[in-house]
């Protein structure tokens, strides 16, 4: 591989956050007279507020877009009552947390850090992804597949294929055209070449190894299908809920389709949100309730 290709491949792996933040490049640069637009908008807002039109901002649809937290005093009026902060998610989440990652919706993060919300409870949903135990199980099942795929007979076949491709194969114009369209038949040609030119015992070893690899893949698909993993996931969810209850979290599981994700709902403190335990799972924490147009 050429050095520049290695550099290209290394650049492919640049961190997600760096790639995402590059999206905004140049977006703040407007034309020379862009300030006129801003000034006009500012005048409009000022005028609207003078005529009391700012009430419009409280319409639900616009409030959702703004994604700002709203506040309600829903707790019983006792000395211990704590104000409950709720919010709406608006357009959100492009992120799936891995085991060990805790990701907070930015608007929620802002709200829990606001000093006026000191001592409040936050009405949140916690989406649990990727239990460590389930991940480990899936990985161990996948290792069985790769083990079979790395059988010496298969590796030998692949090496011979590469050699044939570089040194023996002479594609016709039609073959080249087919390759360009992603419909090349090289593998098929090599299979015929292999059948004609290699000792029977090598062919048998390869066929047996391939069959074992396919069988391992079928077994993997069955053992890691969502329904097959559900008992494991449910057990992990139950353990997490017990652990949370013991630690004083006021949180329970929601009855939603939890095949891949478990949805929890609770009233949590700032400290509980910031310290939500993710040693054995990944958690995405957002406002509870309406989650923007994408949820509809």
């Amino acid at each position: 591989m050429k050095n520049s290709e290695k550099m290209y491949e290394a650049i492919s792996g640049i961190r997600d956050d760096i790639i995402e933040s590059a999206e905004a490049l140049g977006s703040r640069r407007k034309g020379r007279f862009a300030w006129i637009g801003y000034a006009a908008a500012a005048c409009l807002v000022l005028g609207a507020s003078m005529f009391g039109l700012s009430r419009l901002a409280k319409k639900p649809a616009e409030a959702q877009e703004a994604a700002l937290p709203t506040e309600q005093s829903t707790a019983a009026p006792t000395e211990d009552a704590r104000r409950i902060v709720t919010g709406e998610n608006g357009g959100l989440n492009e992120f799936v947390p891995s085991t060990g990652q805790r990701y907070l919706l930015p608007d929620l993060e802002q709200a829990i850090r606001a000093s006026e919300n000191d001592g409040c409870l936050f009405d949140v949903e916690v989406r649990i992804w990727n239990y460590a135990e389930v991940e480990a199980y899936v990985e161990s099942e996948w290792a069985k597949v790769t083990d079979k795929q790395n059988d010496p007979a298969i590796l030998h076949y692949n090496e011979e294929y590469d050699y044939w491709l570089d040194n023996i194969y002479e594609p016709t114009e039609a073959d080249l055209k087919a390759q360009e369209n992603g419909k090349g038949r090289e593998a098929e040609y090599f299979a015929a070449y292999w059948a004609e030119n290699y000792p029977q015992e090598e062919q048998d070893a390869y066929s047996a190894a391939m069959e074992a690899a396919k069988e391992a893949r079928r077994a993997y698909d069955a053992s890691t299908a969502p329904e097959a993993l559900k008992p494991l996931r449910d057990a992990a969810a139950a353990r997490l809920l017990t652990k949370l209850a013991e630690a004083g979290f006021d949180i329970g599981q929601e009855e939603k389709d939890g095949v891949i994700i478990n949805y929890l709902h609770g009233l949590l403190t700032r400290e509980q949100i910031e310290g939500f335990p993710v040693g054995d799972c990944g958690a995405f924490i957002l406002w509870y309730g309406y989650n923007g147009a994408a949820d509809e």
Partner: protein, 185 residues
């Protein structure tokens, strides 16, 4: 549908995931392939291949960010296609990005260590973190997204020549940084 939900559909082996991913990121994948290869006739196919590859790799993988995950597959497929075309001498030309990236290849004089691709990525991330936000974004837009210098010049409101000079300076900086790290590739 949100990314997280599309990923959940992939994990649940629901073929709707491919349709949702195509609807949300198909255009992005095609544009990325076009940017890199400069062969519009290949873009559609590379984008489709990328979606299929995503279907085959989730699970076991669970991408944090579906867009960049697909983007990486597209980049990989584009490079593979380029190599195939080059091997067949069928008008692949030279890949503009690769030619420019030659400038970043270090030639260290001190401690030399053959860097693995992921180590090299780590160094590049470290270097990008040290740059101004705009310089980091410019580098990523050019060398990850494959956007042309002309497009980037328009976005930044400068001349293409000035932009090219800026990119050249960034490549040289990266080269110097990697040399300081004693990286050999």
């Amino acid at each position: 549908m949100r990314d997280a939900e599309i990923v959940a559909s992939f994990l649940a082996r629901d073929e709707q995931a491919i349709r949702e991913a195509e609807s949300k990121y198909g255009a992005f994948c095609r544009a990325l392939a076009r940017n890199i290869l400069k062969r519009p006739e290949d873009a559609e196919e590379i984008a489709n291949d990328a979606l299929l590859a995503a279907w085959q790799s989730i699970p076991p993988k669970t991408p944090n960010n579906l867009k960049t995950f697909l983007g990486r597959i597209v980049r990989d497929k584009a490079l593979t296609r380029y190599r195939a075309l080059k091997a067949q001498k069928r008008g692949a030309g030279s890949l503009e990005l690769l030619t420019e990236l030659e400038d970043c290849v270090p030639s260290p004089a001190g401690v030399e260590e053959l860097a693995e691709a992921n180590e090299l990525t780590g160094f590049i991330n470290e270097w990008l973190d040290m740059l101004s936000k705009e310089d980091a974004a410019l580098f990523v837009k050019r060398y990850w997204y494959g956007e042309s210098a002309d497009e980037l010049a328009k976005k930044l409101g400068c001349s293409p020549l000035k932009l090219s000079q800026r990119l050249y300076a960034l490549r040289k900086k990266l080269k110097a940084f990697l040399e300081r790290k004693g990286v050999l590739i």
